[in-house]
Assembly symmetry: C2
Homo-oligomer: 238 residues x 2
């Protein structure tokens, strides 16, 4: 696994104001200090989920078999349910979902564009990797939301996931054509950096960058660990 945080780690080490033990014991709790206000959270997470749904939909439209179309449509449905759940939370706060999502649309559209694969297999890979990481990230970040919103958002993310359906599609493709493996492994690795940037962009900015980094790092390490497991489950090296 590439260490995405080596540069940032150094920055954390420099202005050490609290003892290391304090940092490491409190980081998991502290991470939620970086949760933005509820509407920022919901605007971003809802638009990300809409993007995941769009990517799955376009993979359905270009699926090589009716079989794959059918399975991916179930995954798309689960993703759309998540999106509508998050949009529903925006409405509970008496706001219009599109208005709240709008400020984040351009950056997430860019993310969608740069994570567009060269063919169907890469696009399915994009669906698996970006949705896997970002759903885990937003679920984690939701722990810092106000209680009732946070509880319902947690339920949205705890709902049935299409991840296994999408992963099964890729395993099937790799079995049928083992030469795909190397290309998909490479693509999977490329997706991590861009996905991490979207996650990072969703965090509230703290006053002390060094403290922020100390809070972010353990969570991002967990995301990377999950990513590695996801790649392993396809027989690919992360």
């Amino acid at each position: 696994v590439v260490n995405w945080f080596s540069r940032r780690k150094k920055r954390v080490d420099a202005p050490r104001l609290r003892p290391r033990t304090d940092d490491s014991s409190s980081t998991r709790v502290d991470f939620v200090d970086l949760t933005p206000d509820a509407l920022s959270f919901l605007g971003q997470s809802a638009y990300v989920q809409l993007t995941i749904f769009e990517n799955l939909s376009s993979a359905i439209a270009s699926a090589p078999t009716t079989d794959a179309k059918e399975r991916l449509s179930r995954a798309a449905s689960l993703s759309l349910t998540k999106h509508l759940g998050l949009a529903g939370e925006i409405e509970r706060l008496r706001k219009v979902p599109s208005t709240i999502m709008e400020p984040y649309a351009a950056a997430i559209d860019d993310f969608q564009r740069i994570t567009l694969g060269a063919d169907w297999f890469e696009n399915v890979m994009t669906c698996l990797i970006t949705a896997g990481m970002l759903d885990e990230f937003f679920a984690r970040l939701a722990e810092g939301l106000p209680a009732s919103t946070g509880r319902r958002v947690a339920e949205v993310y705890a709902g049935e996931s299409g991840e296994e359906l999408v992963a099964a599609e890729l395993r099937r493709a790799i079995d049928a054509n083992p030469r795909l493996a190397a290309r998909l492994a490479l693509w999977g690795r490329r997706l991590v950096g861009d996905t991490m940037l979207v996650a990072r962009g969703a965090l509230a900015k703290g006053h002390n960058i060094a403290n922020d980094e100390a809070r972010i790092e353990p969570v991002f390490s967990e995301l990377i660990a999950s990513h590695t497991r996801r790649m392993d489950s396809l027989g690919l090296t992360a």
Copy 2:
């Protein structure tokens, strides 16, 4: 309204074996004689619904505003729910949905290709017109299915529809740019013929073509009447 059946009417008139009164009083009941077996019905209706969903999804991906994206995603979700309901009926009959849909995929894919519009507005129009007509057609045809399957399929089609959401999108577009009206009216008219062919292709073949036509005609006239109302609601001439 163009009369799509003028040619067929003549054929019906020729070999009149039953008195006209018989034909006209019994046609509404007789139409269900043309309902194919449950699996043929489900294979076609489920695949058509998947296609409607795909068209909506591609309209979401290319929507000009976040607002439009959001509204269309609700319509797409409703369409996907219908698809999954129909696929679920295939599974109840202990068959694999993709296997049952497969024989109809090529023809419906062709339909999708020829009903692809020149731009986003035409594509949204395609979603409105083809889904409107085909949902009404399959709901009507479902009356001839075996009782328990028929009842559940009727529930699928009676479920919430995204039609008004899609129509509202088009009304908004026409309000903003009245010059769109003429082009969308023309496109709406073009879609009818191709959509009718898909409907016609889903019917079981009877032994007596003349009788079949007499059964089909009143139902297709109803579809055309609904189409006219749909166009009216956009301020367009059918």
